[in-house]
Amino acid sequence: MPEFTDLLFYGFAGLALFFGFLCVANPLSRSPVTSAMFLVLTIVSLAGLFILLHAFFLAAIQVLVYAGAVMVLFLFVIMLLDLKEEERRRFRRFTVGVGVVAVGVIAGLLLQTVLKAVPYSQTSTVLAVGATRPLGIILFTQYLLPFELLSLLLLVAMVGVILLTKKELK
């Protein structure tokens, strides 16, 4: 049984990475719509990871909100804007080189850490945390203050969006 979960984990994680890569740098198509679709697949893979962690609520939210609502918004924006120019643009070799070096360094750092890490023993104790009820409890007790502060953050974002997109300049 543990072997099978591990297998699923590697499967979902690999898919998430693969689709994430295709979302950013697809060698076959540079269309933004394709990218958005690959983003949906990435998010679905992530939802699978959440399910493996028994976080069913988060998995559902992930699919409903991100893969559903947010992506529809994305597609609307992409289709409303004329993004043909974006398709034609090519990356310069230097930029790609620098990017690869930077990513390589960070990846190396992380890899080194992960390889050095002591295997964790206490994983099974917090399995139930992902369910709706414990999540709600922890959100409204221990993390109440950041949670409430987020409302202010959302207000700010709303004000900003309205302000920056309002049509007429008085």
Partner: protein
Amino acid sequence: MNYSLLTVEILTALLGLGVLLLDLWIPATSRKLLGIIAATGLGVLLVYAIGSAAPGDGTAFGGMFVVDALSGYAKGFFLVAGLIVLLLSIDSADTIHGYAEYCALILFALTGMLFAASANDFVLMFVALELITVTFYILVSFQRNRLSSLEAGVKYLILGALASGFMVFGIALIFGSANTTNFYEISTAQTALIKSPVFLTGILLTLVGLGFKIAAFPFQIWAPDVYQGAPALTTSFLATGSKAAGFVLLARVAFEAVPELTAARGHLFLGIGSITILYGSLCAIPQRSVKRLMGYSSIANAGYLLLGFGAASLAGGSAVLAYLGGYIFTVLAAFIGIQVVVSHQESDDISAFAGLARRSPWMAASLTVGLVSLAGIPPLAGFFGKLMILKAVAVQVGTSPMVILSLLVAVLGVVVGLYYYLGVLRSVYWPRSVSDLSPIPVSGTTKLALIFAVLGTVLIGVLPETTYQGARQAVAGLATPKSPATPASPPSATTQAAK
């Protein structure tokens, strides 16, 4: 739970909401009133915060929110910065499109800074930082009829989101290895934790996020562009409040959560600080745009502050906070001059400052005080801060060659810094050619802001005892345990006993 500890934060947020609502009833012709109301409200809050800073130490929300010497110290400066920026904004009330929102956003950003000063938990720290950063995405791109403002906004957004991503990942790793995000709980287990590579990576990634806020070396790339593109008012708040919030949080992480790690890896701070100083100072030399110059100067100053962390001692920490206090007044003093010139000349090229001494002695004085203090020359605040940092670093001489190297870099940085600050002053006092010598009118509110900023810069420079004492207590207070197990009950008992 002791909600009274959050009075200042709640009132600031309410003030912001109030300003947003008042816009509905105040006619478009008297928008200035909004700024005046916001500034007055903030002034009252400042007086309240200073008056109540002493007795109310304690924690709330299960140790997540803490009121101690550091939070009191930092909040005073944040409120002053917000007050000065609001006062300064009143002049532009009629030119800023959406002035009420602008004031409200400044107040919301301020709320984020106040929460950041009291954050005792990585989660609250992240949310407070996001509140600040998201607000600044909007404030930076506020002049949306100017392409450079929008460009700056987008740059800040993309790099800021990247930094946030790093930080969230770091916090996740910290939680994964420490099973808590509370600073105090982490500090009790730090000796074991700092041997865990996962935890170290988490801290490192968190520092990446903070490094972005303070514009330290590998994450400094946004600063010049954003400083230049953003409206001068926004830049002044970005350079003071936002940066200071980053440093206060860094102080909390470095000196409260993982002081042992800071002590062991102090040379990392020294190295990054030295490179930051070099980068900021050297890149500033050829600049012609004063706002961009201030961006590089801000990078260089972040380097000096990081040297203070590198000292990893009580002296180093208090030097950082004392420097920061003076720095806020100093930068505001400089930006008052820049803001007035930019809004009058529609340009921030050095040549736009030509003959400012004749055109507006007030603004010339403010700019001079700001720049001279940034250069670190007595009797202004910048000198005292730099001296204390040098002193704290010099104590470490003999532990590593890196210390001597960073001292030499600091000397070089000050000399180079003087060169470019004097370049601006030269244009102010003896320009090569002046086309326009008409006086620049200065309004009463701007003068009030100017008096606050200049007085603060001079007083911290001449009479630094109060500031330095406050900074020392703030850093010393970080070492004392803040147990979340007994939230608020001991402090409330003492306050009742006092009554």
